[in-house]
Symmetry: D2
Subunit: 350 residues, 4 copies
Amino acid sequence: MKNKLPIGILGATGMVGQRYIQLLENHPWFEVAWLAASDRSSGKPYGEAAKWRLDTPLPERIARMTVAAAEPEGAPKIIFASIDAAYASELEPRFAAAGCAVVSNSSAFRMAPNVPLVLPEVNADHLHLIEEQSWRKQSGGYIVTNSNCTVMGPVLALKPIADRFGIEQIFATSMQAVSGAGYPGVASMDIFDNVVPYIANEEEKMEEEMLKLLGTLDGSTVKPLSARMSASCNRVPVIDGHTVSVSIKLVRPATHEEILAAWTEFRPLAGQQLPTAPDQPVQWAPQPDRPQPRLDRNRGNGMAVTVGRLRPCGVLDWKFTVLSHNTIRGAAGATILNAELLASLGKFRS
Amino acid sequence: MKNKLPIGILGATGMVGQRYIQLLENHPWFEVAWLAASDRSSGKPYGEAAKWRLDTPLPERIARMTVAAAEPEGAPKIIFASIDAAYASELEPRFAAAGCAVVSNSSAFRMAPNVPLVLPEVNADHLHLIEEQSWRKQSGGYIVTNSNCTVMGPVLALKPIADRFGIEQIFATSMQAVSGAGYPGVASMDIFDNVVPYIANEEEKMEEEMLKLLGTLDGSTVKPLSARMSASCNRVPVIDGHTVSVSIKLVRPATHEEILAAWTEFRPLAGQQLPTAPDQPVQWAPQPDRPQPRLDRNRGNGMAVTVGRLRPCGVLDWKFTVLSHNTIRGAAGATILNAELLASLGKFRS
Amino acid sequence: MKNKLPIGILGATGMVGQRYIQLLENHPWFEVAWLAASDRSSGKPYGEAAKWRLDTPLPERIARMTVAAAEPEGAPKIIFASIDAAYASELEPRFAAAGCAVVSNSSAFRMAPNVPLVLPEVNADHLHLIEEQSWRKQSGGYIVTNSNCTVMGPVLALKPIADRFGIEQIFATSMQAVSGAGYPGVASMDIFDNVVPYIANEEEKMEEEMLKLLGTLDGSTVKPLSARMSASCNRVPVIDGHTVSVSIKLVRPATHEEILAAWTEFRPLAGQQLPTAPDQPVQWAPQPDRPQPRLDRNRGNGMAVTVGRLRPCGVLDWKFTVLSHNTIRGAAGATILNAELLASLGKFRS
Amino acid sequence: MKNKLPIGILGATGMVGQRYIQLLENHPWFEVAWLAASDRSSGKPYGEAAKWRLDTPLPERIARMTVAAAEPEGAPKIIFASIDAAYASELEPRFAAAGCAVVSNSSAFRMAPNVPLVLPEVNADHLHLIEEQSWRKQSGGYIVTNSNCTVMGPVLALKPIADRFGIEQIFATSMQAVSGAGYPGVASMDIFDNVVPYIANEEEKMEEEMLKLLGTLDGSTVKPLSARMSASCNRVPVIDGHTVSVSIKLVRPATHEEILAAWTEFRPLAGQQLPTAPDQPVQWAPQPDRPQPRLDRNRGNGMAVTVGRLRPCGVLDWKFTVLSHNTIRGAAGATILNAELLASLGKFRS
């Protein structure tokens, strides 16, 4: 294990923090070396501080680690962060200023002009923005972010279509799992036998992050995709897996077969050997009633998104359903894949 | 009770059949006098033939009634029908030919040119189509239908907007309750912790019924609304209550206030004294996270629809969420309200 | 409304507080006149302070009432209380000392020797303990409690059996609804697709409250039933309604028919005209697969308990299943029924 | 793969049939070579005949296999069977008569005097009963069964206690997952927001199978454990995992520590190298609120049972909660483990 890169986790006791730990157990490149959480948890053994909610056992080694204070002192130089925006906006710059590569799932800096919002399959070139960050110049530290959990599935499904045919209008209606709200998150009294047609700030995030992710790097800035976009976000009684109904208007016409081909041929990371990257990031389900969260969320170890029901749209051109695992592909796995990309590009200091 | 109109129920043991019985208990005008179901049930006491799934007790009088064969002989002259389209297409004409007023929730004849598809608040004038039916001329019998359970909420919400501002594009994404699939209907293994993004024929029904309901009577035919429409239908783990995200493009611009006014001032049945008609058929929920099925489905005894989250749409003009109780407003209650309208118009023979 | 008794609610924003408001709307004897909650809510309109979670609308009059501080000054002389034991242990005595009749659903004083733990159908005579309270002597105030929500169903089912045949061993395994944990209460991440086989202190409460409720008043104290009792408590994914599997060993043998007769003939409040008392407090369900929470919890407006599946037990004598609505019969309705009993006995000062 | 033993599956399209396929993918000893199901499926490719409900993909090789008729002709000599008792009672003897080793999850012959009902960790010696079967003598074929899915968890937890301290009374109340009822199985309308306190014949099976499993081989017959037993079975809204509250009366007293030791030291298959056997078949969960189906059902790849909450019982001696994965340990995995045991004992003909 001595050759693995030591990783610190900021927000280690949260739902995404737990997923980092689960997914990094046996990771070939990275090793969890430091865990930080709120003051309430600091100083306690992780096994006591965290209420482990995953269905694989908490690794013994992790359970015995002491939760550190959320301070750069003593932290490793690579930090995975998933904390509330209010904390992130203060803490992540401090870690970056101290020379850390902050690979973040937090929302605080996703839309900052000099912070890359990256999905490796979609816009790896946006990582260039790192070089625009003052921390990078001073201490070597920087912030890289991945997107909101809901936009991830649609953006992966739309990227190959945008590349081939252009997209000028996007309609997305989400049905989101409760794990997206963290823990304790959604009260059972609020969501049993129910749909909640509102998630604070989610539609705004989905709309702006979609366009930045599909945007183009233009010198030292990202020019968002020029498309009209409308998102409607709903919470449904599902544990894991965000389902999104998507309709699009294309710039150039495409047939059913051409869109399927765009999806199945979409393998932008082929040959790069990133351990967490799925072979086939966008998987087509031919059955009429798929994708479904319970049956499809774990494809590609939770890193592949599943598309189905491609059919003509009576208002725009085409519509389909896309599903992604919101705490793996949409959060913890996204951070890890970003870190693997950064490592492969030599962006981590040894 | 001697002055009440005797009613027969075709499909009495199904989920909607049970709702008819529940909602007609203590109805001031109608009395359940005859129950028919499949051959399997015929001849048995209803209490034995039906697996009662509602949370109010099965009335003792009904439990003891014998289930009749599904034949016009011996049936009353007013029939509430909710049976599979395959059976309805054969049986409903036989009852109409025998002189019965068939007030139907079945889908078989909704789109037939001379069969009215009616919601009393929306298009009561379409009832004129009855006079075009050959049964009417020969035996006095006829068929009147109400719509699919999913289209009901959106159409009620859209009618006052269409009247004031015109609608040229409609986008609807549904999150539908399991009771809409009848009993046994959706297997728990299929829908626990899951979303099923497909309901057979539902999108087609929703699109065509919406446009017929919002259409205009033109002599002896209905001219559908000339609008582009796209429906995406999903099943979610909810017992009762269909939630629909709707976006619309208007012909003439409308402000937020004007749309709210269109909804709150929409009382087309005011003064008509129909017992099942809600005072306020479209109710505005001002909270940011409403409507919700568990909290709002029973408004107006399940006959009012709730709208909320009216906000600008990035692709079309406005978007909002609408909720309706699918087995009351969307099925059994719709049939009963149609029957009340027919009774008030003198369309039932004594 | 001027002749109704004014009622104050301590803990008005909680789940049980909301049920008090719902059940007292249109109550013939009582009128909600004062609402108190935690400091956080105090001073706000109730409609803003409370997150209303019930499926009937919050009455407008209540929504506009200002939440008062939880202090006896200005409070009415009848207080319905449902607050955490830690607060109740300090607050309820202050209200009693100030001359209030505190009719409480809180657990703090249920087992206090001079506080009656009462279900009107079971042990109305225990109310005599009021006279042993020092507050009663000094200010006229007192505390009366109802039991834990889980014990309520079994104790109603067991009382008529205990009276006729004697009970010497009781085994109870509960499957409890999430509403019993209040709001936000049980996190959806904890209970979706899950059973939690533990509820803090619940088994202890169930065991000791059962024996006190079935105990006998002996001068100025209650002698608990002398029986062995074992409770196992589980949380299941149900919104409302606690289901309990019960096995018992009797002192004197009883046949199946004799037990059914004990239940159906159990009408201890007949003739007393208490508005909230159900005609038939223990209702027998003859179907093999009942009672079920979704289908039976609302019997008797949520105040009747349903028993079913009476059959011989291979270890003790008889076993059966009992169901009760935990926030109506098991909480808010129990307090109201206790208050009705107190009113009918002249224990409220005008 | 040429050295693997070919396996046939009778009932291949059902829920347990699907689990056989899932669990045998990559099995080191066995290979699925033949699939049979009802006449309706026979002749179709498996991928078309089965509605795959598991969250791992249906293997391509299996999807393309043609479903055979349920006849011994052409079937391999090892048959895994999981079919309705009515069919099993006719079909399983025909396969045994044709020389097949029928390793069965069906209930038809579990209680037959000369058919072993076996859990390898509990009563491997009962396999001797095979030799009493007439088929064995004539054709070499035989029937071996595993138990009902609900009894499996308790019997594994009780075996080490019975061995050390003796058990004379057993009380078990189950909270069972919907997957136990197969597919489509439990209707969502029956179990959403609900508990069903009845499963046909389940209590009887649980009681009699428990005592046979814990019984002793006495020459050519099994003498059931001489204990009083009472089972109460409930269905709860859980996908996979049966939770059982158990209370026991011991013959000889045991301390908390002694019972924990009995569990943790229980490794009856240690050293036997059966691929599907978990290292630790009974795993103790020290947390106060465990075991829980969602968090613990996959321990030991679904083959370990989890015990927790050991505490004194007010009626008997000790009580605890036990959880097992009902379609893995309780069904498909149990058959496979029985087959591994048979293979290791040389009971399969090459």
